[in-house]
Amino acid sequence: MSIVAQLPVLPIVMPIMAAPITLLLPRGRAPHLWACLFTWLTFAACIALFREVAATGPISYALGDWAPPIGIEYRIDLANALVLLLVSGIASVVFPFAYRSVQLEVDQRQTPLFYGALLICMTGLLGVTITGDAFNVFVFLEISSLSTYALIAMGARRDRRALTAAFNYLVMGTIGATFFVIGIGLLYQSTGTLNMADLAQQLIGQDNRMVQAGFAFILVGMGLKLAMFPMHLWLPNAYTYAPSAVTAFLAATATKVAVYVIIRFFFSVFNFDFAFIGAAFTYVLLPLGLAGMFVASFVAVFQEDVKRMLAYSSVAQIGYMLLGLSFATVEGLTASLVHIFNHALMKAALFMAVACVVLRSGSHSIHAFAGLSKRMPVTTWAFIISGLSLIGVPLTVGFISKWYLLNAAFAAGHWYAGFLIVASSLIALAYIGRVAEVMLLKEPADDGKFVLPKEEAPLSMLVPMWILVAANIYFGVRTDLTGDIATRAAEALMMMAGGAP
């Protein structure tokens, strides 16, 4: 077989075939090593795929050799190659990191199931990203969601509230997926096709109620999945009570993939000839993005639980992504794509730092962070550097995101949005600064709810965490890598949508 010709399907086939085998492995180290091996192989395949796409343009792969639009097509262009790279990259760092953290937080007898579910979750997210078939998006979305519910519920060993959090997410996520599939059904009804490229062709000139309703269902369904303010209520609990490694993985990938789906549908399936697209951008995404940025950031400031604080911060950061794409310009879309990538790097690093603290102190309340700089300096500085990145300090990826976003806001004539971006960054300074102050200056007060950490986190956790912290700085300096790719991807998407490039 020619490995290059089969490359597009490898990131899906490898992990999904590895996942069930994980169940048969003996408990302990084996499932973890097996899962790590396959995330690395998948990452390697995604890198090869990305290079291929960057060099030769979009790749199409017909599953079962059924030519699109009849068969399922995997279609990879720069936009989803970037997201594929992100998801598999984060997985290849978080999986090795997970071992010690999972040992503490998840029932030892569940480890084969845990790593199996984590692999399936990754496959689902990659599948949503890679496919060019609208219904296939739904199938992979369910694959990733179902395993996510189980993964969150596995946090019940430490805190029984993980069960209600997982159930809440199950209800909300299922409503979201149902709305999404109703939307796809309406589009199918009016066009008779499910292939995205073909949908875009068939939808031309079909500005009727059914298409509008389909669009609205897709927007609301995906809005639930990506925790768009005010549909984010499932997210804080799910992230707080899930095992720490799961939170790090999900926060960096799951919502990002949902944002990608929104971008894909808005720009590649629908186009700017539809009046309602513009209205949705101006009257739904823009105000909700701005509201999310402020309300969620503001709520984050008052959280006693660092994990929950970062979860609210995620909702706020999703506001930035929605704001970027709501400008419907190349600059805005670029900013959105760059922020998808960058926010994944910083949030994964932050949640990994929290996981290290949980490992040593047994708690993610802010009190457990008191005086941490003396006891766990390496973790403390990882948290502070990625926190600075979240705020948007120069030389970090956060600054690059904000820079692109400000550029886009002023170029699109929404100068007030530019000021609001800066203002909301100041709120981020408040909540990150609060934790930093506690870590650096406060004396630990033992209230019996946690143990004082005696030593630094193990190397198996520090190394992956610092790889991500280093990535935060590397991509903050080498902006040509993400910026150029995102610009090219955004230009291609705008061409498809028929807007001015």
């Binding site: 077989m1 020619s2 089969q6 399907v9 086939v13 999904i16 075939m17 069930p20 085998i21 169940l23 048969l24 792969y61 017909a62 599953l63 079962g64 050799d65 029932d107 007898r109 569940q110 084969p112 199931l113």
Partner: protein, 146 residues
Amino acid sequence: MDHLILRVTSKLLFAPIILFALYVQFHGDYGPGGGFQAGVIFAVAFILHAFCFGLEETRKVLPQKALTIAMVIGFLLYSGTGLVTMLLGANFLDYDALVPNSTHHAGQHYGIIIVELGVGTAVAATMLTIFYHFTGREPDIDQEDW
């Protein structure tokens, strides 16, 4: 012995149900049916057994460990078919590669029969696993069963 009539009847029904499951399974590539329905019918035979003889008796016949292995094998039968077609130089799940140079797409028939067998195995095992865990009376699922 309690519930004698029920138990004798269910024993009589057991084999025909499984036979029907196999009929639906191997009829599925041409007519209505297929792996999913067959898997459910297959599982129903064992669920009936559990209703009439108690869960413990069924667990002796089909322990959870065997079900887990069956789930994995079922899934790997499906995806393995795709892997084989890839190794034969065609796209993932392009069954034509199984019998090249066939004038009437014989590979498509072989492919779908193997894939449906995988689906049937996995669905039957999963249905029974869900049933075991819902009917098991332990307050928590006994993790040693996994």
